[in-house]
């Protein structure tokens, strides 16, 4: 979808939708928000709605980074310790590898 053809209010509404949507445990919406609206928020010349769009983009970026940190930590811990956790590890797994603990 080409943002150039949209009026500024619609751009703001779209950015806001993606920002609020990301709170429903959907960090990729925040990533999309950042990538898509980055040019609009920081590169384009100033217009009235740009300040709000800039806030949304910044907050989406922060939220996404937070998710990345949490998921990376959990995945590292799980991959490392799943074998030692025995039964608990097996119940948390969807697919259990064959032939290795």
């Amino acid at each position: 979808m080409n943002l150039e053809r949209l009026p500024n209010e619609e751009k703001l509404t779209l950015c806001r939708k993606y920002y609020f949507g990301g709170f429903a445990f959907l960090p990729f919406l925040w990533l999309v928000n950042v990538v898509w609206f980055f040019k609009e928020a920081f590169v384009e010349p100033t217009y009235t709605e740009q300040l709000q769009i800039k806030t949304y983009v910044k907050r989406s970026g922060l939220g996404f980074l937070l998710w990345v940190a949490v998921l990376t930590t959990w995945i590292t811990i799980f991959q490392h310790f799943r074998a030692e956790w025995g039964e608990v590890g097996d119940y948390l797994s969807f697919t259990i590898p064959l032939g290795i603990p």
């Binding site: 969807f94 032939g99 290795i100």
Partner: protein
């Protein structure tokens, strides 16, 4: 005209190569040009119990190693440290298959990708089993008698090196000495031989072994993973070991009435069916199990007439237990069933037990009677045991051997009787050819075969003549069977005057030994089997490994053979037709509650090609023998056997020539370089497209 000419050339080539194309299309597969598949391999697989995993595991994409034929133990330095092309696949002859060599290779698993054992001559002694078999599931625990636990007084299998119970993380396969082994050796001599001093030249001959096992850690883990059904297709990773026990009463009971039988007293005559080896599918159990159960089968036949003419006061149960090697699966199941009213009698009905252990390899002329010292401290039990010993010793009158009691303080050898003792102090005796430790030099190994029992036939006999030839081993086992039968008759309260008429038949014994140790596909076995089961008879001896408990009512070949033989030797032939044999309840005098009716093939009479099949009425039944631990869901049980076998997808082995690592890296590098060059060229051509291609268009433009 040019087209015509081209067409003619095309036709010519097509004609010439069409024939070749049709013939070669199946053999031209690139994979077949590279790999030579090895078909007759026996792998070492993974078994698990409550605490350990034993056996071998390969990686999921197979383990590849450069073949090295080991010549002596000192030659191990080459694969372990000196050789320049690790990892190696070590090829051993069976005489080098020892614990020290295997443990050295296990410790160097980064340089040894796997081991292949070629079966050749037997070493003087070899037992991969533990020194104290089934030490935790027998009766001698710390609480029963502290001094007798863990083989403190007598080590039953002193030659045992425990190799079968080690864990290897590289594949170990076994090959027979045949054409495939010759191919491997030829490949080795052509490519891998070290020329004095100079290093090896690539390409080298390599072998790849696939035996990836699905189960890990222990039985509880693998049973848990098998039963989790999150995903769409739950994967079974392991199966419990088990099979069927073969049981026959001389006076059968109603098979649907379980529990205690009033005023019934039963003497149990027991023997073990199964055996194992390091390579499970290669189990022969000549002295370990065959000697015992063949003697008991012959005794059952000897008792048939006497018990039918003058039935003794007590009943006799012939019990052939399966799965005894793996912590007494069969006997623990029977005791469990008896205690929980799931068997036709219970422990109160059991009067005494006589078990036939290993009886074929004597070190003198005597056989020995083993009893349990702890239960004999009780006077009643002691008196009963003494009575049983007296009955046994008097039964050898007129025979060429005598029975001697072992030292009073010596415990029982590993036997099914121990599981009955664990439940109740029952008087009993185990008959064996060894006084202290066992005489079997090849206990639970693949050398415990016909040659170990000195089963030799004169060379000019055909297979049918060999079947009928009475060997010395058969004669000595016949005498033991006669003594056992007479003792059982007396123990069951039979009339003493009839005893001397009870004699085992040497012809039956020698035919059984032939069928169980040389060829199972012989005329006698064919005659006693059912028509639908005749495919289990092979030109080799049957497998003695207990195998996996199948959910369908299918037993393995050994169980069926013993069932049908016992039916033939103790049952009666009836003149029911085949359809009547399937539904005998419709007839007035027949009852499937008491008997089972089996339709067997029968013999081929001379001058005829049709078999005279008939219906046998017999009291023989197959009783499920799976460890109670799996019914109770207690996979960490210390009480019952928890052995399971891992599942796998495929197991195969192949050899091929392998190139050096440098050549592989060079090929990869050249490929990557070609890729980048082509990308560059394409980019260049694209950006300069107008310059490169416009010169062709100019003359056309000029025409305008």
């Amino acid at each position: 005209m040019f087209a015509e000419f081209a067409g003619k050339i095309l036709e010519y080539f097509v004609e010439r190569y069409r024939v070749h194309f049709v013939l070669d299309v199946s053999c031209n597969s690139v994979a077949q040009k590279i790999y030579v598949e090895l078909n007759n391999t026996v792998p070492c697989v993974r078994l698990l119990n409550a605490t350990h995993q034993i056996g071998c595991q390969s990686s999921i994409s197979g383990d590849t190693g450069v073949i090295h034929v080991l010549e002596s133990e000192a030659d191990l330095e080459w694969p372990l440290s000196k050789g320049p092309n690790p990892p190696y696949m070590v090829l051993l002859e069976s005489s080098l298959f020892t614990k020290s060599i295997m443990m050295k290779m296990k410790n160097a698993s980064s340089r040894v990708a796997g081991v292949v054992v070629v079966q050749k001559t037997s070493p003087p002694e070899f037992s991969p089993h533990t020194t104290c078999p089934n030490e935790n599931t027998g009766v001698y625990t710390e609480t029963y008698d502290h001094n007798l636990a863990h083989c403190n007084t007598t080590v039953w299998n002193p030659r045992g090196n425990g190799l079968s119970y080690e864990e290897f993380d590289s594949p170990v396969f076994s090959l027979k000495e045949d054409n495939e082994t010759e191919v491997i050796k030829q490949c080795y001599f052509d490519h891998n031989r070290v020329v004095n001093g100079s290093g090896l030249q690539y390409p080298l001959c390599a072998m790849q072994l696939f035996s990836h096992m699905h189960a890990v850690t222990d039985t509880a883990t693998c049973m848990r993973r098998s039963s989790m059904d999150f995903s769409t297709s739950p994967v079974m990773v392991c199966d419990p070991l088990g099979g069927y026990n073969v049981c026959a009463f001389i006076r059968p009971y109603n098979s649907t009435a379980f529990g205690h039988k009033e005023n019934e007293s039963v003497v149990i005559a027991a023997a073990r069916l199964d055996s194992r080896a390091f390579f499970l599918e290669d189990s022969t159990g000549a002295e370990g199990s065959v000697s015992g159960f063949v003697t008991l089968l012959a005794a059952a036949q000897a008792l048939r007439e006497a018990t039918q003419e003058a039935p003794p006061t007590r009943n006799i149960l012939f019990a052939f237990f399966h799965g005894e090697v793996f912590d007494y699966i069969g006997s623990s199941r029977m005791v469990y069933d008896m205690k929980n009213n799931m068997f036709v009698i219970d422990l109160d009905n059991v009067h005494s037990i006589l078990e036939i252990g290993q009886v074929a390899v004597r070190s003198g002329t005597n056989l020995f009677l083993h009893s349990d010292p702890v239960s004999r401290r009780n006077n009643t039990v002691h008196d009963e045991v003494t009575n049983l010993v007296k009955n046994l010793q008097s039964s050898t009158a007129g025979l060429n051997f005598s029975l001697v009691e072992t030292d009073f303080s010596q415990p029982l050898p590993p036997s099914s009787f121990q599981r009955l003792l664990r439940a109740r102090a029952i008087p009993g005796i185990v008959l064996a050819d060894h006084q202290t430790d066992i005489n079997n030099r090849y206990y639970e190994s693949f050398y415990d075969n016909a040659a170990h029992l000195n089963l030799t036939y004169p060379s000019n006999l055909s297979p049918e003549e060999q079947l009928e030839f009475v060997t010395d081993t058969a004669k000595s086992l016949t005498e033991v069977a006669t003594a056992v039968a007479r003792a059982l008759f007396k123990q069951a309260g039979g009339n003493n005057s009839q005893v001397n008429k009870i004699n085992a038949d040497p012809k039956t014994v020698t035919q059984m030994l032939y069928g169980f140790l040389v060829r199972s596909n012989n005329s006698w076995f064919q005659a006693v089997m059912a028509p639908e089961l005749k495919d289990i008879l092979q030109p080799n001896p049957p497998q003695y490994y207990v195998g996996v408990a199948k959910s369908s009512h299918q037993a393995n070949a050994l169980t069926y053979l013993v069932q049908y033989l016992l039916a033939n030797l103790t049952g009666t032939a009836t003149n029911l037709t085949q359809s009547q044999c399937k539904k005998p309840d419709e007839l007035p005098n027949e009852s499937t509650y008491l008997y089972s009716y089996l339709w067997v093939q029968g013999v081929v009479p001379p001058n005829s090609t049709q078999r005279e099949s008939f219906c046998v009425r017999t009291a023989v039944r197959l009783v499920k023998a799976v460890s109670p631990a799996f019914d109770l869901g207690d996979y960490i049980s210390k009480e019952y056997s928890t052995w399971t076998k891992s599942q796998w997808k495929f197991i195969k082995a192949r050899i091929f020539l392998v190139a050096s690592r440098d050549l592989e890296m060079l090929t990869l590098g050249v490929g990557v370089a070609v890729l980048f060059t082509s990308l560059l060229v394409t980019y260049f051509v694209r950006t300069k497209a107008d310059v490169l291609f416009s010169s062709v268009r100019e003359p056309n433009n000029a025409a305008y």
